[in-house]
């Protein structure tokens, strides 16, 4: 009886510690609501999910890379470049300072979408080739592509006929309606981007759990040598994971251009940190081989909820950085503890 009670207490204790981050973040949100009850409105909730959506799509792409024990520092800048190309092609034809004055008719939206995805895929595949074939560390190769992408973004934005580096803006209504529009259910406006995020998460869930690529990805992430001797094509798996990530980055860039409605050289700055943080909070282990899609979705929403609530409470901007940094370190510490428990 005594032993059963102790085992029960131990299990409860471990459950609390393993899910400590969710409890703490939940407590923070409850505190925010109790200080400012106006925070708990449906509009705010939808705003949080809307803002979490594009970064959530980035996080979904990035999560696969973390599962194979890699990372990607180029996400934000690649998003910036893809978003700049998208923005230049969807500017209103009535806007005098548009990037392409010779364009007198709106082009099909699939063209900027595919271009955005193609650019992100090229950068992602360069990272993948460096990691899979050249055995470079993902950190260093993506640092290089990050700088290249940033340089290209600046050059592209300065190519405007005016010669200035002003942000690309004034997009056509068709683009804004489809990428950043919303539909109504009763009195509630649901942004399309939320639906796109859910579809992306569902597709990624299928890839991770129902396909050979998903199984190979977890095997490579857990132990590449063991995966190799088990017959997994490690290079092909890594390249495919980077390819899927690139597609997601391109899509996120397209949607982000519509969301921010003004794309400059600094668009996408530090987005990689948000994407990686969302993955870590969502339980994707940096040691590789561990993670779930639902975890990444929850991680993205929680991270955005915390960002939004800190902003809502007007908490000092410098303290906001400290709080977010501590949340990430706690997430990693809990991940290490989970390993120690299983060892």
């Amino acid at each position: 009886m005594e032993i059963e009670k102790r085992v029960g207490n131990k299990n409860i204790g471990e459950f609390l510690i393993n899910n400590a981050l969710y409890f703490i973040l939940g407590a923070i949100l409850v505190t925010v609501v109790s200080i400012k009850p106006s925070f708990a409105t449906l509009t705010n909730f939808i705003n949080i999910i809307k803002q979490a959506s594009t970064k959530g799509i980035l996080a979904l792409g990035c999560a696969g890379l973390i599962v194979i024990a890699g990372t990607d520092l180029s996400i934000g800048r690649v998003l910036g470049l893809s978003a700049a190309v998208t923005a230049s092609l969807v500017q209103s034809v009535t806007y005098a300072s548009r990037m392409y004055p010779q364009m007198t008719q709106q082009i099909n939206l699939l063209i900027p979408l595919f271009l955005s995805i193609a650019i992100a895929v090229i950068f992602s595949l360069i990272n993948g080739f460096g990691v899979a074939k050249l055995h470079l560390h993902a950190f260093i190769v993506s640092l290089g592509t990050q700088l290249i992408a940033y340089g290209l973004t600046c050059i592209y934005i300065e190519m405007q006929p005016s010669g200035s580096a002003q942000a690309l803006s004034t997009f056509n209504d068709n683009f804004l309606n489809k990428a950043a529009g919303s539909f109504s259910i009763g009195n509630v406006k649901i942004p399309y981007v939320m639906i796109y995020f859910l579809i992306c998460a569902f597709i990624m869930h299928i890839i991770w759990n129902k396909t050979k690529l998903g199984k190979d990805m977890f095997a490579v992430g857990g132990n590449p040598e063991a995966a190799k001797v088990s017959g997994v094509n490690v290079v092909k798996t890594i390249m495919l994971v980077y390819l899927v990530a690139g597609i997601y980055y391109g899509l996120a860039a397209f949607l982000e251009a519509a969301r921010v409605q003004s794309v400059g050289a600094n668009t996408g700055i530090n987005y990689e940190l948000d994407a990686i943080s969302a993955c870590v909070i969502g339980g994707v282990s940096f040691s590789g081989g561990v993670g779930t899609v639902i975890g990444v979705v929850i991680g993205s929403i929680i991270l955005q909820a915390i960002n939004y609530s800190l902003y809502f409470l007007s908490i000092n901007a410098y303290l906001q950085y400290i709080i977010k940094g501590l949340i990430i370190i706690i997430a990693v510490a809990i991940d290490v503890r989970k390993y120690l428990e299983k060892r």
């Binding site: 400590a20 857990g222 590789g288 007007s314 908490i315 400290i322 120690l340 428990e341």
Partner: protein
């Protein structure tokens, strides 16, 4: 004879130690820290987080 010995050594190094899970947590395998210490670290971090949050509310 020499070659045979070398082959044996290689084989020994490559084999997976008993009790290890070959498909998981490869990078944490060399961790030398107890759960109790880890719990203390997490507790300190949580206290710091809550303190930073409280400070943020007070100082705004």
């Amino acid at each position: 004879m020499k070659n045979k010995n070398l082959q044996n050594t290689d084989h020994k190094e490559q084999s997976i130690p008993e009790g290890r899970k070959p498909f998981r947590y490869r990078q944490y395998d060399k961790l030398d820290i107890s759960i109790v210490t880890m719990d203390k670290i997490i507790t300190v971090l949580v206290v710091l987080l809550l303190a930073a949050f409280a400070l943020g509310i007070v100082l705004k």
